[in-house]
Symmetry: C2
Subunit: 80 residues, 2 copies
């Protein structure tokens, strides 16, 4: 049985404040990286799936458990 892989990228919606990202941007500025104007932090969830897995099911998982659809967007990337 071959394994499939899926990656779910979860990012905050653009209108949602991201204090963690702001802190990262400030820390980089303090380290001398003045080209950084802002930062946003998100999550990647890499799933190892059995071969009967489908993109539709992974999107369902993302919407139910992996992302909070009120404040987050997600995209799914499948890979054999």
């Amino acid at each position: 049985m071959k394994l499939k892989k899926a990656r779910v990228y979860v990012t905050l919606k653009p209108t949602v404040l991201d204090p963690q990202g702001t802190t990262v941007a400030k820390a980089l500025n303090h380290l001398g990286y003045h080209e950084v104007e802002g930062a946003r932090v998100g999550k990647i969830i890499e799933l190892h799936l059995s071969d009967q897995a489908t993109r539709a099911r992974v999107e369902e998982m993302a919407g139910k458990l992996l992302a909070n659809p009120v404040i987050e967007n997600f995209t799914v990337e499948m890979e054999e």
Copy 2:
């Protein structure tokens, strides 16, 4: 002045235990997604940069502040 964007993907090295990922995989199994055999959780940091930013500088930032090179790998993706 045009803004550039960079995305830094930070993932745990394959040999490092990921209890958060294990919990995600178990939770998905409990919800009926039995095709999930494992999961690993990582971070995405999206940087908004001024136009003089370079990939080399972003890789330096990732190694110094965004990732912990002892337990994490990172990849950088630049976008105009």
